[in-house]
């Protein structure tokens, strides 16, 4: 594992037993992500993209193999230390924009910071940091609103704020734009790209090649195996990147 690698996955297997039948969702998956990278995972439905994301982030247990996050092997961590890692070093964004129903937007955003003991901050400081993040993502006016009172795009940006509140080493995003229209989707991706350019490592699962084209690398997964890897040249204009990616995806059988 090089000094620059933040996530290293080796021979990862994940098997579900459904009705006494073994279902191998991930089969000997190996890859690594370096600090500052923005990696997209693509593949057909049921190929194991989300399972991969949840397993490498420690949210789900692996059946075999090894995952090292910041040099620490996840399989050697207890449930509690995994929880601590998720709280302090990882950020999560979900397709369905899950939030705590009884909390306002700002409270949802600052909740992980209040829970975390990583930084010894006063409640005032946490609140101010949450407001700064909201301002940065352009949703400062909806802080006191309930989660039902904002649009999907605003809610997903609030989810990004929440994932960023503890300054994580890496953000895992499961189809962050899946439930959004094109405009909102573009806005959210713009924010994620901005975060990445500021140094945050991001791994995201997507079906959308327009979204994936904004990443630095794309992993293509089929039947639990990484079928191929595509490096995107960031210096190219976006439409060229999209075209190149689409061609590659067609080659992969997309």
């Amino acid at each position: 594992m090089s000094k620059n690698t933040i996530l290293e996955v080796k021979d990862l297997c994940k098997t579900y037993i459904i009705n006494k039948r073994q279902n191998n969702v991930l089969r000997n998956v190996s890859f690594h992500i370096d600090k500052g990278e923005m990696v997209a995972v693509m593949g057909p439905s049921g190929s194991g993209k989300s399972t991969l994301l949840y397993t490498v982030s420690g949210m789900d247990k692996m059946t075999a193999g090894d995952v090292k996050f910041c040099g620490k092997s996840l399989s050697e961590q207890s449930e509690n230390s995994l929880a601590e890692m998720r709280l302090d070093d990882m950020g999560f964004i979900f397709q369905q924009m899950y939030m705590m129903k009884n909390l306002s937007i700002i409270d949802n955003i600052i909740l992980p910071a209040v829970k975390s003991s990583k930084k010894k901050e006063s409640r005032k400081e946490i609140l101010s940091r949450g407001q700064d993040l909201m301002h940065k993502l352009g949703i400062s006016e909806v802080g006191e609103n309930d989660i039902n009172e904002v649009s999907g795009g605003q809610l997903q940006r609030a989810c990004i704020c929440r994932s960023m509140i503890n300054d994580p080493q890496m953000i895992f995003a499961d189809e962050p734009t899946g439930a959004l229209n094109r405009t909102s989707s573009d806005e959210v991706m713009e924010e994620l790209t901005k975060l990445n350019s500021e140094g945050t490592t991001i791994m995201l699962v997507t079906h959308d090649s327009k979204v994936a084209a904004k990443c630095s690398r794309v992993l293509y997964i089929v039947d639990g195996n990484i079928r191929g890897e595509y490096n995107i040249k960031k210096e190219q204009p976006l439409h060229d990147r999209e075209r190149g990616l689409n061609n590659w995806l067609m080659e992969m059988g997309w």
């Binding site: 949210m59 449930e79 929880a83 709280l87 129903k101 600052i110 909740l111 992980p112 409640r123 039902n148």
Partner: protein
């Protein structure tokens, strides 16, 4: 199609459906058993007396010639018929177990043959005792209070020169003498055993007795007619026997309160669960409506589902209600026959009622379906673009940690669901608190005024010392002087007095009565409390209880004729007072009246006031010393004296009911916490998964869920503490009113027990139930966020 959707739904929402089923079972069980118990308690005494074949009037005669009494009764114009039950009298010294006296009882015990029984006696299972095997015996009444018997225990009864060893066959329920206030225990035996005792020559001479069960058209006229029957130990009408069950009725009355609370709790629970589960269905409702199903079909689907669950739950609940109801009844009816013949029918009706109520709830809850568009339904029943505000507290402004804040915020953001839980906990706590207050009051000095005694440092109620006065061996004054001297000689200077009991005949407007009058030379009539009028000031003035006044038809200011030792004088009634002495058949003389010592044939107890006014701690140490000096265990402080007047059995029964109700309450609270927490977990699965995904440890989420229950329990405790005194007054005052305390009583509230111990127990039960159930959250993983619908 309809059935397939239903089948899938039942399978998919297994947890919530099982929870609902459990609540229906609980509700049916509580409702059916409680309604049965209410009927049993309300009709309790009437039913008991009817089953026992009781008469209108009762006489226990010690006459050697019962036939002569029977002849007298035949001559009385108001007697329509009577039955004679021959008995043999025995004293407390005559009844032993392994050579040791079983108990002390101030009056005589009676032995009878089951073949000659003139009323029905019941065993502990409420079956009529029709025969007693030879060598065995059933025991009834006060003797069962202090002595623990187990089936197979052997007791020895010696009457005259004949001693019989009898095996204890069990409790006998005696409608006439079995109440806690009656002091005549009975032994029911086989006829051959009885004849062995009756054949004894000495027994024929000294132990013959008879109980006459007399009937007449007018109870009052009968009482007046029979007041001159000689050699009686007891000569009372059925109303007095009824009053003697007051303590048992109080305990049964408490069961009534328990039952009402259980019904309340069960319906609150049902209402909550049904609206909760139906609200959970809105997404499905939306989808079905979007697919084109008609309102009627959607509603029908849910109604059929809930009808099925309600019917299954009601059937199971009905069968469980039978043992549960019997368990509740048996806790209060060890000496009474409590039960109703129609319990099965009532149970079925209650179960049907529960099903109907559930369907009514469902009908009401599903009414919304009609008004909802598919989209509204998908939005969990909310209408419009803006939803009402949920969160009330602000994390940014709070000083609480994340877990504590989330718990508190949840409670205040969902006032309905946590409010219902709080109400249930409050009702449960109030129930236990009311019982505790009643039990503590019954065993406290607060009831001293109802015992017609003044407050003293200690009281001696030794039966031997009292018997010396009763048998005329010594007078009250002499006995008091003797005690005073002995105590002074032992370094405890004091003054001793006693409430003497006199039994004169009182006559007014042709109504004749033999109430018991209290008389004490060493206290003033004005030292006692009166409910109406003024304390007697002169020797020709008296006070009466309202019950005696009512029977005499006398009011304040009336002049009544009283005959003491054959001398009749006129006395003015100046006041009414409340009394529990001699079942309220009481009067009071003025202290200046010269009552001959020979007329004072009993005392309440010897009251000792030390010259140096010792504190409570010192009094307790002196109680031990006085016990040693007089070699008796019957020395008490005021609380103990009140308890000995009321009967130890009552205290034990109330304590038993208290513990039993506390246990039931704890079980109910745990069950409610378990079922509610399980339904919360089911409903909040997305949030739990999200919290775990964000990095909350499992124990944090568990703590948050448990804390919500603790907050509810704490709010319930505060509410219950605030409401306990008024609610106790509201519920228990009428019960004390029946005892004669018409103006209510001052309750003895033990703050530590009532305001600390019980709330802590209920809170602990709540937390335990919720925490153990919250362990189930372990099965929800952070990655479940991806599976949430």
């Amino acid at each position: 199609m309809f059935l397939r959707i239903l089948k899938k739904d039942l399978k998919r929402k297994k947890t919530m459906n099982i929870i609902l089923l459990l609540f229906v079972i609980m509700a049916t069980m509580f409702a059916a058993s409680s309604v049965n118990n209410i009927i049993a308690v309300m009709s309790g005494l009437d039913n008991y007396f009817e089953k026992a074949n009781m008469s209108d009037h009762f006489i226990i005669s010690l006459s050697k010639d019962p036939d002569a009494i029977a002849d007298m009764l035949s001559q009385k114009p108001n007697v329509s018929d009577f039955r004679t039950e021959k008995q043999l009298v025995f004293h407390d010294n005559d009844l032993t177990r392994n050579g040791e006296k079983l108990d002390e009882f101030s009056s005589v015990g009676l032995a009878l043959s089951i073949d000659n029984a003139q009323i029905n006696y019941f065993n502990k299972d409420n079956g009529i005792i029709k025969s007693v095997p030879q060598g065995k015996a059933y025991l009834t009444g006060c003797i069962l209070n202090k002595t623990n018997f187990e089936s197979g225990d052997e007791i020895q009864l010696k009457i005259g020169d004949t001693e019989l060893t009898l095996e204890y066959a069990g409790i006998g329920k005696d409608a006439f003498l079995g109440s806690d206030m009656m002091t005549n225990p009975r032994i029911i035996m086989n006829n051959e055993d009885y004849e062995k005792l009756a054949a004894d020559e000495k027994a024929k001479e000294n132990n013959s007795a008879a109980v006459f069960y007399v009937n007449g058209p007018d109870e009052k006229a009968l009482e007046s007619d029979l007041s001159d029957i000689p050699d009686t130990v007891l000569n009372v009408g059925i109303s007095v026997i009824r009053t003697s069950y007051i303590m048992n009725t109080i305990v049964a009355g408490l069961l009534l309160i328990v039952s009402v609370c259980l019904i309340l709790v069960s319906f609150v629970m049902l209402r909550f669960t049904i609206s909760f589960t139906i609200n959970e269905e809105f997404r499905e409702i939306g989808v079905m409506k979007a697919l084109g199903l008609k309102n009627r079909s959607v509603r029908g689907l849910f109604l059929v589902k809930y009808l099925g669950i309600a019917a299954i739950g009601a059937v199971i609940g009905f069968f469980l209600s039978i043992p549960f109801g019997n368990m509740l009844l048996s806790s209060v009816s060890s000496k009474m026959y409590l039960g109703s013949d129609s319990s099965a029918a009532v149970g079925v009706l209650c179960s049907l009622a529960v099903v109907l109520v559930i369907m009514a709830f469902c009908w009401r809850c599903t009414r919304k379906i009609k008004k909802l568009s598919p989209i509204d339904a998908v939005r969990s029943g909310q209408t419009g673009e803006r939803f009402k505000k949920k969160g009330l507290l602000r994390l940014g402004k709070s000083k609480l940690g994340a877990t504590g804040f989330l718990a508190l915020n949840d409670v205040f953001s969902s006032p309905k669901q946590f409010g219902i839980m709080t109400v249930i906990f409050t009702v449960c706590l109030l129930l236990v608190m009311c019982l505790a207050n009643t039990g503590n009051t019954l065993a406290s000095r607060k009831l001293l005024p109802l015992m017609c005694s003044t407050d003293s440092d200690i009281y001696i109620t030794d039966t031997d010392m009292i018997m010396e006065v009763m048998t005329g061996e010594t007078t009250v004054t002499e006995q008091c002087d003797k005690i005073e001297k002995k105590l002074t000689d032992n370094g405890l200077p004091c003054s001793v007095h006693a409430e003497g009991l006199v039994a004169p005949t009182v006559e007014f407007k042709g109504n004749k009565l033999s109430p018991t009058f209290l008389y004490c030379k060493d206290t003033k009539a004005s030292d006692y409390s009166y409910s109406e009028g003024y304390a007697p000031k002169y020797s020709n003035e008296i006070a009466l209880t309202s019950s005696v006044a009512e029977k005499l038809e006398a009011g304040i200011g009336d002049k009544v004729n009283i005959t003491i030792d054959g001398k009749t004088d006129e006395y003015i009634v100046t006041a009414f007072f409340q009394s529990m002495v001699k079942l309220g058949e009481t009067g009071r003389f003025h202290e200046s009246l010269e009552v001959p010592d020979s007329a004072v044939n009993q005392v309440m107890g010897f009251q000792i006031d030390f010259d140096d006014s010792p504190d409570e701690k010192e009094i307790n140490s002196r109680i031990s010393r006085v016990k040693d000096i007089f070699d008796t265990k019957y020395v008490d402080d005021t609380d103990g004296f009140v308890m000995s007047c009321i009967g130890e059995g009552v205290k034990d029964t109330i304590n038993g009911v208290k513990v039993f109700v506390l246990l039931i309450t704890v079980i109910i609270v745990i069950m409610i916490s378990v079922l509610m927490e399980r339904s919360f977990i089911s409903k909040e699965k997305p949030e739990i998964a999200l919290m775990k995904a964000m990095g909350f440890k499992s124990r944090s989420v568990r703590r948050q869920h448990t804390l919500r229950f603790l907050i509810s329990a704490v709010i319930a405790a505060v509410l219950a503490i605030l409401l306990s005194t008024p609610v106790t007054k509201l519920c228990i005052d009428p019960i004390f009113g029946i005892m004669g305390a018409l103006d209510g009583v001052e309750y003895n509230i033990k703050p530590v027990e009532v305001f600390a111990v019980y709330p802590v127990i209920i809170a602990a039960a709540t937390v335990l139930g919720a925490y153990l159930t919250a362990m189930y959250m372990k099965t929800i993983k952070a990655s479940d966020t991806s599976d949430i619908e």
